[in-house]
């Protein structure tokens, strides 16, 4: 990626992270659409021999041989038996029956996590710079599980099974599927097995935001990653015939528009289809569109396809307007015709002009790449949001990372829009999604693993979470682009990742396999349900009191019930959580600070001070939440911070009433 290393402070702190040795021992497994091995991001210059721990393979198949791998891309496998069992044999004229990536997504995620340094990277000159993965010296193992028809659970489980056997250290999964109990969800089950072997599993949170309860991959042994923006934009202004200008974004690079205002029509008025405004395939009337700029509404079909539909109908350009679903979030695309995307407010204003002037005209002014955009990061509207619908007592997402307009490696088999009509070939592409934020965390977790090989997956996640930030340097809270207001822990979890701070967190909240098994007892899973995950007989002790509140998680979620009828005003509920901190720094004394945004919840921590004299020393504390009854759907947010003056170990708090 370009820009994200600078945005995350990795460029200024390069000497803090191991450059060789342990860094090149870390292996990141990526389950995705495969890999394009010819990408410059897989150049293995300067890398030593493949780690001796590696047991994987470079499988052969369509246009992929064992020599496709090297000392950077050390493994590549494909899993298609489940896919083929359901949908029939793979059509090798359309997709490679091999680890080869015909889609681009897998190459993008793998290079984001651990791509080598490539100078002069860009997409048509956009986002130009030196591209690199987060963990430049880590090794990559690609596991192709996603095909044209989707990613099947049997194949995903097989890939996870093999990745564990191959000895990967980190697993990155930028995929998800609905919401189901952990003993029914293949990703959760596979991740549990990986976690048992000391592998950190990082998963995307999903792109179903900003609706609440829209998260996937919420198991507590998974690191769940939401998406935020960078300080980079690709402005392309809409200039109307009435003299007004509106901000938009675009990655269009091609024949420029004529330097004059052009006739402008709303797609909904150039179609006989009831949803003509969406510019779906074959819905525009060419006679009404030919030679004109067309305004389309976002939604239902892919954004780039709308541009293709306008072009096919004879349109010469497109203005793509967000609707309420996306608000003011602007996602740039490498459209096949001159086009720009505008937010809902601008879109509404442009529509007013279009509806009021039968001779409306417009042009688009493309401005290239701009950096230093503030505020940044902001939470992406599409990033899935809490609460956690499976276990509301575990706050998810865990944190956010860059996931909007991310430049990274791409497949040579497909153009940047992914459309069949797009015959352009690019080495790098710019795309958005929690798919893009997840491998940022996977790579950063790889850096931490290299720096602290002894840390457990939970310790690495704790370091990433407790050092994440929730405020800009100005002190203002990180914004949510969906609302334009401050985001909450349901949007950003513990906050935005700060890898330099995560390297030296001071204290960590650690978790063992037994802790997770006790968690399963606490959520009342039956013995067979637990056995599915544990892979052995495991019976909860009937004499023991299990509580989710005691899972040593680096965040606090306190779901409460509003009394039936909404009464009970004045009555209070007391909930106690227990946590244990492990010292991973120098001897020090930490003092607690408590922040609550409402008097309705009183939070106390006992003891208020913890002294650590040795490395790995553990100290426990209790948090008491005393909450008065509130109407359902009330959420109160807060924060607990332990600090010794040098480190700040922060945890978000959410108290919610349903």
């Amino acid at each position: 990626t370009t820009r994200t290393p600078e945005f995350l402070g990795l460029d200024k702190s390069a000497d803090l992270f191991p450059e060789s040795g342990s860094a090149s021992e870390v292996i990141i497994g990526v389950l995705d659409t495969g890999i394009w091995p010819e990408s410059k991001s897989f150049d293995d210059t300067g890398l030593g021999p493949i780690p001796s721990s590696w047991k994987g393979e470079c499988e052969t198949g369509t246009n992929f041989t064992s020599s496709s791998c090297n000392r950077k891309l050390i493994g590549a496998r494909f899993f298609s038996k489940g896919y083929e069992a359901t949908l029939g044999p793979i059509d090798e004229s359309k997709e490679s029956k091999s680890p080869r990536d015909d889609d681009g997504h897998g190459t993008h995620t793998a290079t984001t996590a651990a791509g080598s340094v490539v100078e002069g990277a860009s997409l048509f000159g956009f986002a130009e710079g030196t591209a690199r993965g987060m963990a430049t010296r880590a090794r990559i193992a690609a596991y192709k599980v996603c095909w044209i028809g989707g990613c099947f659970s049997t194949d995903i489980l097989a890939a996870l099974d093999k990745a564990v056997e191959d000895n990967v250290n980190i697993l990155s999964l930028s995929l998800g599927g609905g919401m189901s109990d952990y003993y029914r969800d293949s990703v959760a089950m596979g991740a549990f097995g990986a976690m048992e072997k000391g592998i950190l599993v990082s998963c995307s949170a999903g792109n179903s935001g900003p609706s609440p309860y829209s998260l996937s991959n919420v198991a507590p042994w998974i690191t769940t990653v939401g998406a935020g923006t960078l300080d980079r934009d690709f402005p392309a202004f809409v200039s109307l015939g009435n003299g007004k200008n509106y901000s938009g974004v675009s990655l269009y690079r091609g024949d420029p528009l004529p330097g004059t205002l052009l006739p402008f029509v709303y797609a909904g008025n150039a179609s006989n289809a009831p949803n003509g405004n969406l510019c779906m395939t074959n819905t525009l009337i060419p006679e009404k569109v030919a030679g004109k700029m067309v305004m389309c509404d976002r939604g239902v079909n892919p954004r780039v396809q709308k541009g293709s539909v306008v072009k096919a109908a004879g349109g010469i350009g497109m203005v793509l307007a967000n609707t309420g679903t996306n608000g003011e979030e602007l996602v740039a695309d490498a459209h096949l015709l001159p086009a720009t995307a505008v937010g809902q407010k601008s879109g509404d204003a442009i529509k007013s002009y279009l509806f009021s002037d039968h001779d409306a005209t417009v042009t688009i002014l493309f401005e290239g790449t701009k950096v230093g955009i503030q505020p940044s990061p902001v939470v992406a509207a599409f990033s899935s949001r809490g609460p956690n619908s499976i276990t509301p007592d575990i706050l998810k997402p865990d944190l956010i990372a860059p996931g909007v307009n991310i430049l990274a490696g791409w497949s040579g088999a497909v153009g940047p829009t992914g459309l069949p009509t797009d015959k352009r070939h690019v080495d790098f592409n710019i795309i958005s999604g929690t798919s893009m934020s997840c491998p940022h965390i996977s790579g950063l977790a790889g850096l931490l693993k290299a720096a602290h090989p002894e840390w457990s997956p939970a310790a690495i996640r704790s370091a990433l979470m407790t050092t994440a930030y929730t405020n800009y340097k100005s002190g203002q809270k990180i914004q949510d682009v969906a609302t334009g207001k401050p985001s909450t822990a349901f949007d950003h979890g513990a906050g935005h990742v700060d890898p330099v701070s995560a390297l030296n967190p001071g204290l960590i909240y650690d978790l063992t396999v037994d802790d997770y098994l006790n968690f399963l007892c606490a959520i009342n899973y039956s013995a067979p349900q637990i056995s599915i995950l544990a892979k052995r007989n495991f019976t909860c002790d009937t004499d023991k009191k299990y509580s989710v509140a005691d899972l040593n998680y680096p965040s606090f979620a306190v779901p409460l019930q509003t009394p039936l009828g909404g009464g009970g005003e004045g009555s209070s509920t007391v909930v106690k959580h227990t946590r244990t901190l492990t010292n991973v720094g120098s001897p020090s004394t930490y003092k607690v600070s408590i922040f609550s945004e409402s008097e309705s919840v009183k939070i106390s921590v006992e003891p208020g001070s913890l002294s650590f004299s040795e490395l790995n020393e553990k100290k426990s504390f209790k948090v008491t939440f005393t909450a008065t009854s509130m109407p359902s759907n009330t959420n109160i947010f807060g924060r607990i911070e332990w600090s010794d003056g040098k480190h700040v170990v922060g945890s978000p708090i959410v108290v919610s009433w349903t």
Partner: protein, 82 residues
């Protein structure tokens, strides 16, 4: 359609494997063959879960569910890229 085959992931309780079997794979095979002569295994899982995946009719799946050592039988789920 009861005759239609669907893909299932079968979770096995290996602690309940009869002593007559030396290897899990043989036990999985035997369990599967007890409900379907024609069904083939897609994958055997040995690290992150214990079990296998296969194609079964609804009746075969119900029958397998009742066999000793079967923890659960879950139908294939399609996931999507984010």
């Amino acid at each position: 359609n009861d005759e239609e085959r669907r893909t299932y992931i079968v979770h096995m309780a290996t602690s309940q494997m009869p002593e007559s079997f030396q290897e899990r794979a043989h036990w999985y095979d035997s369990s599967l063959k007890s409900v379907s002569e024609s069904a083939e295994m897609l994958y055997k899982y040995s690290n992150v879960i214990h079990g296998f995946s296969t194609r079964l009719t609804a009746e075969e799946a119900r029958s397998l569910q009742g066999r000793p050592g079967i923890l659960s039988i879950l139908e294939e789920v399609r996931y999507e890229l984010h």
